[in-house]
Amino acid sequence: MSEIHDWSAIEIAEAVRARKLSAVEVLRALRARIAEHDGELGAFLRLNDEAEGEALAIDAALAEGKDPGPLAGVPIAIKDNIHVRDQITSCGSRFLEDFHAPFEATAVERLRAAGAVILGKTNLDEFAMGSSTENSAFGPTRNPWDEDRAPGGSSGGSAAAVAARFCPVALGSDTGGSIRQPAAFCGVFGLKPTYGRVSRYGLVAFGSSLDQIGPFTRRAADAALVTRIMSGADPMDSTAATREVDDYEAVIGQGLEGLRIGVAREFMDDRIDPELRSRVKEAIDALGDAGAEIVEIDLPHTKYAIPTYYIVATSEASSNLARYDGVGYGLRAEQAKDILEMFKKSRMKGFGDEVKRRIILGTYCLSAGSYDAFYDKALRVRTLLRRDFERAFERCDLVLGPTTPTLPFKLGEKTDDPIAMYLADILTASLNLAGLPGASLPAGFIEQDGKKLPVGLQVIADRFREDLIFRVAAALEHLKGFAKESPIS
């Protein structure tokens, strides 16, 4: 008999709805596990004090014969740059460490309406800027598979929480790989939906044309359910697509016959760790053996994705983060002689090094004399990256490859070299630039220093074709068992 922390969201909701188990029992079981293990990992920044009350309300509704919804009593963790009403949204920054969200993110509101219980807020790189969760002002999160290694980032806390079985589902945000790269490093499923599929209302903005909220899970079916619930038009976000949401759960178990999978040569070249590459190839071959047709494709501008991304993302960030001025909310430096000094000192005190570096870089790229050479140029290359994918999807339904160029790296290994850290997103950033959906799927392990380290397989679809991603994820889960191993007993 498996324990509650091993259960999927769907299993928990079924048991709670059938009143075989109360929502409060589920919550207490997971909180006990967090209390035992999160001291070492640091996945959570804060637990939700109201969670027990929320679970009691679910149980009370069931006692009255009401159905709380398909996520009845499922504890969900939320990255700390997504608003949960009246709770702190720190963004991993000193600037916002006492900031209480005055409203709730649409994604969170929709999960709650489906019966979810908010478990707590998870650690992240400050303002989601990083690939290791080491840029958090509140200390790093550790990888549950090897505590000397990074969990990836920026949504490292959410990925580690799902991998460590603190919760079946956690939300992250992805601007250049911040869901998929930590999902790969922690051996769980992580999806960045199509730009506009999930409302960004209540997600603290980093790069507005790139940001998306998405789920981490250990089961493909859980991700399909949660994504369907969160998706859809939102009057609070004009970029949320009005297009109807597909029934993602319907494709689970459909098999791979008739699917054409493209393997990008540029995703499998010498820049990628050879052992990791061969593990990814094994997973792709398994999908081929199960009925998918495998074809080779080219994405010729891939090497320009990171330079393009770091111009576009920092330019947008320099504008978005102008709001942190110490006036309406957040940290304010004391004893400034005038308002300009207050702005400058508040931002100096409140922001960490990486955030300052990116704001300065973005401001530089947008400043007179640099705009055409950098920002305008990057927006044109962005078109070329998008065209690469448009051409690829004329030849195949999905593009597959590794999620990351390396296995999880050691904590501290890349903190002094910004460019080395940026290259962790070499295979993920182009999707954000093109607006495409992509997921990282657990594709096995490689043993190093006596530790099993997870490998991620990235599955990329055309816009609004999340259904194909879930179809492949469910098939691979069926073939390989997916995230059935736990890093913590």
Partner: protein, 93 residues
């Protein structure tokens, strides 16, 4: 190509105070990043249109009707210094 004085100027535009001893560090890092991103110059892009956004091509419209908005007391509670109605700041002129 990027010197400490330039960083001081850009940091001023970005309204961030940078300690003097940090200026050369940022100058060196930003110079290396600029050098790295300059590989985009290898591409001929004069005839390629810019892509500002990855979203839907259609604008979303709604009626301009008054509705409820954030309560003033809630909006003020995050400010470091405020009275019952307004946020207080140091002198602006």
């Amino acid at each position: 190509m990027v010197n400490p004085d330039e960083i001081r100027h850009v940091a001023h535009l970005a309204r961030i105070e940078v300690e003097s001893d940090k200026l050369p560090v940022y100058a060196d890092q930003i110079a290396r990043i600029i050098d790295f991103v300059s590989q985009l110059d290898e591409l001929e892009t004069d005839d390629v249109p810019v892509m500002m956004h990855a979203g839907a091509d259609d604008d979303v419209f709604r009626e301009d009707e008054p509705g409820t908005c954030l309560d003033r007391a809630i909006a003020l509670r995050g400010a470091a210094d405020h009275d019952d109605e307004q946020i207080r700041v140091p002198k602006t002129l």
